[in-house]
Amino acid sequence: MKRRQSKRAIFAVPTVIAAVSLFGLVAALTGDGLRDMASWVGLAVPAAAVAWARHRAGPSEPDSAQRRATRKKGTLS
């Protein structure tokens, strides 16, 4: 992405994550059962965002797949 983003665009997703986390933090204070579950969902969002970012970024070593392929070839020959 080469285009400069506005502050609003930069903070759009972080604001939603913060709001959902705060909702989760308060939900379990107000009761048990469903409200506890709401808090789990709310506070799972930050962890889910990291998992999504890692998934999107692909393998951490770009050549690992290639290396695996070469190794396989090596054992075959």
């Binding site: 992405m1 080469k2 285009r3 400069r4 983003q5 502050k7 930069i10 903070f11 759009a12 997703v13 972080p14 994550i17 913060a18 709001a19 986390s21 705060l22 933090l25 939900a27 379990a28 204070l29 107000t30 009761g31 048990d32 409200r35 506890d36 808090s39 789990w40 506070l43 799972a44 969002v45 930050p46 962890a47 965002a49 990291v50 999504w52 970012a53 890692r54 999107r56 970024a57 951490s60 070593e61 770009p62």
Partner: protein
């Protein structure tokens, strides 16, 4: 944002973080097992789960409070009662005694009883690993100065979070949310992780940081309440000398007067005369609220410890309520095991944010300030030379 203001915020972020990072790492590492202290205590402790009437109740099936107190004092001859605490789920009742009414917490002894049978119900482990971690986490074995010091570190942590959010804007100007460049260089990888984990855990870190600061102020907050509201509630007793323990009257009479003043609520604990939570002449019976949200908002009924008559009832002020609600919001123990596991995950995120921040600083702290500011401005593309 121009380069000059980025530079200023960079310096704020650098210095607030540098001062608090090692203490925050200690707090995260000790806090991690403390999240699960109930589960760990259940695995290792002698405390047995018991079924039966809740000890905060009243009526047949539960022994009188005077009987329970007498049992506790027989086990600790020469000591005076400091607290008696109740449970809403089981008949377990705890009695705290100490050599003097105003003894420090380290001199207090906690005994557990079954209020249905009157038998002892296990001990509170005060020597094991968990109490050690708790003490390290609370005051680093330095008492009140240690607590206040860690509170100050918490404030710096919050300042580091705020300045970090400000720097997030220029850094991400040309990057999509969630960018992780893991293949170009180790530095860029950790720079991206630092920004991503910091921004997703922002709300949680701020809440746990601020509630930690409020918890660190527990002693002055309670002292303020004693000086203001409690002093007003017990104005008629001002100037009288402390009531000697030999003249303490019946706890059951006192509890009956207190229940009449706040009908329908469960008592959470009784503070005895001379301690931090009462006057020198009163049993302070602290009642819980009646809904899940207000359950933690306590209302004390001040009962003349000699006569058992009500002196005054008044809800706690806003600043002690802030302390009360800061406890669950800091400990994460109010929404079952899944919430605790998320709490642990977010603590791990915080450890990575702290560790990567330290790594990023150590790697290039000799580079000129301008080039480090340029790194923030370009989203990590202009890498400062060593």
């Amino acid at each position: 944002m121009n380069t000059r203001s980025i530079r200023a915020w960079y310096l704020v972020h650098k210095w607030t973080s540098l001062v608090c990072t090692l203490f925050l790492l200690m707090l995260c590492v000790t806090g991690l097992p403390l999240i699960f202290h109930d589960e760990i205590d259940a695995l290792t402790g002698e405390q047995v789960k018991m079924a039966g009437l809740p000890s905060s109740g009243e009526g047949p099936g539960l022994l009188p409070l005077d009987t329970m107190l007498a049992k506790a004092l027989t086990a600790r001859p020469g000591e005076v009662p400091v607290f008696m605490a109740f449970d809403n789920e089981s008949p377990v009742l705890t009695v705290t005694t100490a050599p003097r009414p105003d003894s420090p917490a380290s001199d207090m002894t906690i005994q557990l009883f079954n209020r249905a049978t009157g038998t002892p119900a296990g001990k509170v482990d005060e020597q094991g690993v968990m109490p050690f971690l708790l003490q390290l986490h609370t005051d680093m074995f330095l008492g009140l100065p240690g607590m206040l010091f860690l509170g100050a570190m918490g404030l710096l942590f919050v300042a580091a979070i705020v300045s970090g959010v400000v720097l997030y804007a220029p850094f991400m100007r040309k990057l999509r949310f969630g960018t992780l460049r893991r293949t170009r260089s180790t530095r860029l990888k950790w720079l991206d992780y630092h920004n991503l984990l910091g921004i997703v855990a922002l709300a949680w870190m701020t809440v746990v940081g601020l509630t930690g600061v409020i918890n660190a102020l527990a002693t002055p907050i309670i002292q303020l309440w004693q000086m203001n509201e409690l002093a007003e509630m017990t104005r008629a007793y001002q100037g009288r000398s402390a009531l000697p323990p030999a003249r303490y009257g019946s706890l059951d009479t006192a509890m009956a007067s207190a229940r009449k003043a706040i009908p329908g609520n469960n008592p959470q604990f009784i503070a005895f005369p001379g301690g931090a939570f009462s006057s020198k002449h009163h049993y302070a019976v602290f009642f819980q609220g009646t809904t899940p949200l207000t359950e933690r908002a306590l209302t004390p009924a001040l009962i003349d410890a000699e006569t058992g008559q009500l002196t005054d009832v008044r809800p706690m002020p806003w600043y002690t309520l802030a302390l009360t609600y800061s406890q669950p919001l800091h400990f994460g123990d109010y929404g079952g095991l899944p919430l605790k596991m998320l709490w642990a995950a977010l603590t791990l995120f915080t450890i990575v944010v702290l560790g990567s921040g330290l790594y990023l600083w150590l790697g290039r702290h000799r580079a000129p300030l301008e080039t480090r500011v340029l790194e923030v401005e370009t989203g990590g593309l202009a890498v400062p030379a060593e």
